[in-house]
């Protein structure tokens, strides 16, 4: 019971917190994989950078949806 009552006490912008958690994980994974890819094939650094920035922008966008569009 105490867990339930403790959980019920949690207030604030939880949705933003979860969205930030998700996109932080996503951006981290993208960065990790991009570094791995550049390590394997340093010649392809520029195309990989483009892909990585594009996907991290898309992942990051989720936080802004959570901040601005969720009521």
């Amino acid at each position: 019971m105490s867990i339930v009552t403790n959980l019920a006490e949690i207030t604030g912008s939880l949705h933003i917190g979860f969205a930030a958690l998700g996109s932080a994980l996503a951006v981290g994974i993208i960065g990790m994989k991009a570094s791995e890819a550049v390590g394997r094939n340093p010649g392809a650094a520029t195309p990989i950078l483009v892909q990585a920035i594009l996907s991290s922008a898309l992942a990051e966008g989720i936080v802004f949806f959570a901040i601005f569009l969720v009521k």
């Binding site: 520029t46 922008a57 990051e60 966008g61 802004f64 601005f68 569009l69 969720v70």
Partner: protein, 334 residues
Amino acid sequence: MPSLFSNRFASFLSGLLPVVGCVSLLLSGTASAVESTRPTAVHSMPVAEVLHSSTSTVAHEAAGHEAALTPNAPVLFHLGPLPVNNSMVLMWVVSAVIILVTRAATKDLKENPEGLQNFAEWVVESLRDFLENILGRALTAQTFWFFASAFIFILTANWFGLLPGVGTVGWGTPDASGALTHISEPLLRGANADLNLTLAMSVVFFVGWIYWALKANGIGGFLLHIFGPRGDAKGVLKLVLIVVFLCVGVLELVSIMFRPVSLSFRLYGNVFAGETMLETMSNLVKALAPIITIPFYFLELLVGFVQALVFTLLTAVFTLLICDHGDGHAEEKH
């Protein structure tokens, strides 16, 4: 004297001026549409209200009882029916700087560029090479004016917003002891920290995107591109696939309609969050403020560049996705 550079340069300049003009016109339109609904500095704008309730509480706690950066740019004065806010003032300054630098760089063109002309050519040529790698030669020639202008404008605006004096010089109300601790109406504010400007740029892109898409595909091809079935199935399977891809097309239409929203919120959110973070950090420990903010200034320099790149890249890829036929592109690369 009429070298390759001067031709490119003239076309670039002629492209840059209308886009800046378009952006400022659209900005005025959206600004007056949004701002006219609110009487003074009260947040009656729904988006701003959501933002205010969710972010300013955090900033309040961190900065003690200091007032945080307002999500919508405060209006400084009115030009007739048009409310002018401080982000618009910075946008005009940035546009003027870009136009003046471009004019100074192209004033007397030399065969062997040096100084400002050299720098401007380096910027334009690097952007052209970068975009040609993504879009291909033909599409770049058609769309370079928008993407290059957007990149240069966003980058300049973001970095200009980091200069000392932006956001710290302006008007405010003194507290009880008579000391002015918070500037509530700064004279200048980061241009992209105003949703109206980022939305205006996204809408300009969206109109351009529709134009380029219709020009490349025609109306039938455009609809086929979105709703048409892909792959080479035959017979009954093909009929099923047509229905499936019709539904996929509806989904794609929704995602296309959402692009301007996500583009504008991404840029606005990043720049506004950066400004809020700098303000919070400088209020954290008053005595150490100049030292604490240094790493965050470098972070903001990086964010300003990356966000300009992201806006340009995303818009370029959206254009490529609709204009690419999958033919002629492969042979161009070899």
